[in-house]
């Protein structure tokens, strides 16, 4: 996993609430390889029924080319647990999603892939999205160590992040390796459980 320290990049505003993972990767593309999935992300929002790009959709607008930060609305990433909803963002350059709230599974999946999900106050997120619409191509700067977001208006917001997840992201630590270092504790747990719940085997 790529470490995450700081990021200063163009941000793209996505106004819909409850963007579900079926919108990010429609189910019919789930068996495609990762490169193809990266190409079709947000397919039904980006293209109309005849496969023509919808010019009004933000990700089709050239001013946001090269964006690495997505600023979304409440309950982003709800629905199916599909992890490709995170990897397609990553593969399209996004390392951060800012939103008032996320679905729990999407939120966890972000950290597993080196993407930083940031929760900010709903009014502030709305304000940032408005600024990004008003000046397309505006940039946001993120500093994970200091837990700050520097908005296009020069205003700094502080965000909360679990110190466990923060450490893993800053160092690019992988969960499996970390957990394997607790093997002694796991084995001890299993020995205890064999006595109290023998039927589980």
């Amino acid at each position: 996993m790529q470490p995450f320290t700081t990021l200063e990049a163009i941000a793209v505003p996505l106004d819909q609430p409850n963007v579900d993972t079926d919108q990010i990767v429609p189910a019919r593309f789930l068996r495609e390889p990762r490169q193809i999935q990266a190409e079709i992300y947000f397919y039904d929002l980006r293209y109309d029924d005849e496969g023509r790009p919808r010019p009004e959709f933000v990700l089709n607008q050239p001013s946001y080319n090269g964006a690495r930060i997505m600023v979304a609305d409440r309950n982003f990433g709800c629905g199916s647990s599909r992890e490709c909803a995170v990897t397609v963002l990553l593969d399209n350059g996004f390392r951060t999603v800012i939103a008032p709230s996320f679905s729990d599974i999407f939120f966890n999946n972000c950290f597993q892939n080196g993407v930083l999900p940031i929760r900010l106050d709903a009014d502030r997120v709305k304000q940032i999205r408005e600024m990004l619409h008003f000046s397309p191509g505006a940039r946001i700067a993120i500093d994970l160590a200091n837990q700050t977001v520097l908005g296009p208006d020069g205003k700094t917001d502080h965000f909360a992040v679990d110190s466990f997840r923060k450490d893993c992201l800053l160092k690019g630590v992988d969960d499996i390796n970390l957990t394997l270092s607790y093997e002694g504790d796991i084995a001890a747990f299993e020995a205890r459980q064999r006595e109290t719940m023998a039927w589980l085997g």
């Binding site: 068996r31 309950n75 647990s81 992890e83 039927w199």
Partner: protein, 467 residues
């Protein structure tokens, strides 16, 4: 010890390591796998690791199974076929129990777990699928995870978790005639919203929940995720114990007695405090349906299509308008006048025997006026339904009794999708844009309501069809 919620008790029993930064290494008792778990196995292969506890892991193909044939050679799309072949190869290589095609026990993972007695009170259970919340109906702590976490559980039998908060949804009173578990959960989601329970584990309580069968509780817990909850649970009681007794993977003999003794200690203590409480009166719940593109867009069948002009918040207004445009609806139209083009009865929400009986009761002696499918949740359910003659009732009414259990039209990954613009009455759990195929309009309803719509050709208050 202070009073604890059921969630708290199960959580505590599974702590391997508690870090002072708020993260817990939680032990996972059961891992369910399906045909989408191939990527988890691939991650394991990259590291040359084996599944740590294969005897705690169970697999069944569901998403990519054809609904008209259980033969793997009939699967035309080579990529779908590969997904099903892989689950066989991976479970053999890792010595994981498989309920594969051709095995009557095959079905939707969330139907198979409880049916086989794999799901039990007091256990932690995960699956790489968001509707894992279903299993909490038996008093387990069960939640969905992503692929990286699937690989993590395979490798370590544990997960790093931050403890969710506890929420109690109490539904007291008696449900009216024609009102089912599906209507209850749609009413709950309509009330608290699609993100209403994010970060929480919901315990469903109250007399109306206790009076539900295990099947009904499974339906309620299934859709907890549509309210954003991490998990849903119902305290185990006599019904839970009776349901589990004798199931293949349930404890036996002396183990059974020990297990029951433990299960009796799990319900939340009377003084336990929840972080949030929500109350609903069962008498207020009507047969429900969704009108929009989020499960929170739920209304009683007696209602009308809502008007965006009636909400103050401009963002909400826009979201509503977008949903109405996609669904092809005009504000003010009576919901029970909306025509349907197709009906789907199935999915991990509503494909159990009781659901099929409910639908058959409405269908008996009548004819469907639009194409309607019934897809059983498992081979054993299908067999049971056929033994009860339900398949005959459906067939005589021109319903299609599909051959092979699986997810089918709930998500359409196997190719079972509707046509653009079609309006579908579906007993599944998600009405997202494009969920049942590009441009398809999904309305979520109970099995009885879906059956009624198939008969009349429009959404219908099931209470108006005498049985």
């Amino acid at each position: 010890m202070t009073a604890a919620t059921m969630f708290e008790k199960i959580w505590r029993r599974h702590i391997v390591v508690d870090r002072d930064d708020g993260y817990t290494l939680l032990y996972i008792d059961r891992h369910l796998m399906h045909d989408g778990s191939a990527m988890g196995f691939a991650k394991l292969r990259e590291r040359n690791i084996k599944v740590r506890r294969p005897e705690r892991s169970f697999a069944t193909p569901d998403h990519y199974v054809r609904s008209d044939s259980g033969r793997i050679d009939d699967i035309v799309d080579p990529r779908h076929k590969r997904m099903i072949e892989q689950i066989g190869e991976n479970t053999t290589a890792h010595r994981v129990t498989l309920f594969g095609l051709g095995d009557a026990r095959q079905g939707i993972a969330h139907v198979v777990g409880p049916e086989q007695g794999i799901t039990q009170p007091g256990l932690t259970l995960v699956c790489g699928d968001s509707h894992t919340s279903t299993h909490g109906a038996l008093g387990a702590l069960a939640f969905g995870i992503g692929t990286s976490e699937v690989a993590h559980v395979m490798a370590t039998q544990c997960l790093w978790q931050r403890k969710p908060k506890a929420m109690r949804v109490t539904v007291d009173g008696q449900l009216g005639v024609g009102v089912t578990a599906k209507d209850v959960i749609l009413a709950v989601i309509g009330k608290i919203g699609a993100a209403g329970a994010v970060g929480h584990v919901i315990e469903y309580a109250g007399s109306a929940i206790r009076s539900l069968s295990i099947e009904g509780r499974l339906t309620v817990c299934n859709m907890s995720i549509e309210a954003g909850a991490r998990a849903g649970m119902v305290a185990p009681d006599d019904k839970t114990i009776a349901y589990l007794e004798g199931r293949p993977f349930a404890p036996k003999g002396a183990d059974w007695n020990a297990a029951v003794e433990l299960w009796r200690t799990l319900p939340s203590d009377a003084e336990a405090v929840f972080d949030r409480e929500v109350r609903l009166s069962a008498a207020d719940v009507e047969p429900m349906m969704t009108w929009g593109t989020s499960p929170e867009d739920a209304l009683p069948i007696s209602a009308r299509v809502p008007d965006p002009a009636s909400v103050a918040d401009s963002a909400k207004q826009e979201a509503m308008q977008r949903a109405l445009d996609y669904m092809g609806l005009t504000p003010g139209t009576r919901l029970d006048e909306l025509p349907v083009d197709r009906v789907f009865i199935g999915s991990c929400t509503n494909s159990r025997i009781e659901d099929l009986r409910d639908a058959a009761r409405i269908v008996r002696g009548r004819k469907a006026t639009v194409p309607a499918w019934v897809v059983a949740g498992s081979g054993l359910i299908k067999r049971q339904a056929e033994a009860e003659g339900l398949d005959q009732i459906f067939r005589e009414a021109n319903f299609e009794w599909r051959e092979q259990p699986g997810c089918s039209m709930c998500v359409g990954m196997n190719g079972d999708i509707g046509k653009p613009g079609q309006r579908i009455a579906s007993t599944s759990n998600r009405n997202f844009v494009g969920r049942q195929g590009p441009g398809v309009r999904t309305h979520l309803v109970s099995p009885a309501m879906a059956a009624a719509a198939a008969i009349t050709g429009h959404f219908t208050d099931v209470r108006q069809l005498p049985v």
